[in-house]
């Protein structure tokens, strides 16, 4: 059952990622990216990461993608024109990507020791209580530094995007 769920959502994620790369219009790519993020959230749930699955849906598929779609709408971005690529790039590109994926898959499958099966419910430390305890006890300094990072990012975004007053 877990394997079937994994296969369904992995296939959906890969299909959406291929669609992201192939679509011409940015809005289509953005919606494909939402599909990838949604199916990845399901995979996180299968791996026992309840908190991180919800954060994925809220922060990534919600907030960040709304920002992307907002900018696409604001700039009225149309579909892009196809570039004339070098001949070898258009013929060798896809086989080389496939070869890279195949080599990586071979290494993971054969060079590493055989991995156990992932069972839903076997990992119990992914809930908000355990994550919060680890975050505020062990990783409290990086967490606080992150708040400064976000503050600087907000200020930078405001400075970059404001209208020039001259």
């Amino acid at each position: 059952m877990d394997a079937i769920l994994f296969l369904i959502f992995a296939a959906f994620a890969v299909a959406c990622a291929v669609n992201l790369v192939l679509q011409k219009h940015p809005i289509s790519s953005a919606l494909s990216l939402v599909g990838v993020m949604g199916s990845l959230a399901v995979l996180y749930l299968l791996l026992g990461g309840e908190f991180i699955a919800m954060a994925q849906l809220i922060v990534y598929a919600g907030a960040i993608m709304v920002l992307f779609i907002f900018v696409i709408m604001l700039l009225n971005a149309g579909s892009e024109t196809r570039a004339k690529r070098h001949l070898w790039a258009s013929y060798a590109g896809i086989p080389m990507i496939a070869a890279m994926i195949a080599i990586a898959a071979y290494i993971v499958q054969h060079a590493l020791p055989p991995t156990e099966e992932v069972r839903f419910g076997a990992f119990q430390h992914g809930n908000a209580y355990d994550i919060g305890e680890k975050l505020f006890k062990v990783y409290v300094l990086p967490f606080e530094v992150t708040s400064i990072l976000v503050l600087v990012a907000i200020l930078g975004a405001i400075v970059l995007a404001r209208k020039e007053v001259s």
Partner: protein, 106 residues
């Protein structure tokens, strides 16, 4: 055909992460719209997050979850700054094609 295992092996998750990362690299290299290039970067970050969670499952600790949480926060900050830069570039040059923004080249 061998019988389907009860749960997917952990290596399948890592291979899926590799596939998504390779597709993100492909989008980053092939696409010319600056927004789509940016979305490919987000795809790569998501792929790395998946392997963080998978290794976290393997080790039985939730440190990987914390790391991918930080990756999400940094991605949010990066999206805010990056999209502001895209807005400024578009305001100054009226284009989103990355090949036409090349004033630093010569």
């Amino acid at each position: 055909m061998p019988a389907l295992p009860q749960g997917a092996p952990l290596s399948w998750y890592l291979i899926l992460s590799g596939i998504l990362f390779a597709l993100g690299v492909a989008g980053f290299l092939f696409r010319r719209n600056i927004i789509t290039v940016f979305m490919s970067i987000e795809l790569m970050l998501n792929a790395v997050n998946l392997s963080f969670i998978a290794f976290s499952y393997k080790l039985g600790q939730n440190d990987g979850h914390i790391f991918s949480f930080f990756v999400m926060v940094v991605a949010a900050a990066e999206a805010a700054v990056g999209l502001a830069i895209i807005l400024t570039v578009f305001k100054n040059r009226q284009t989103l094609e990355i090949d036409e923004v090349s004033s630093l080249k010569n």
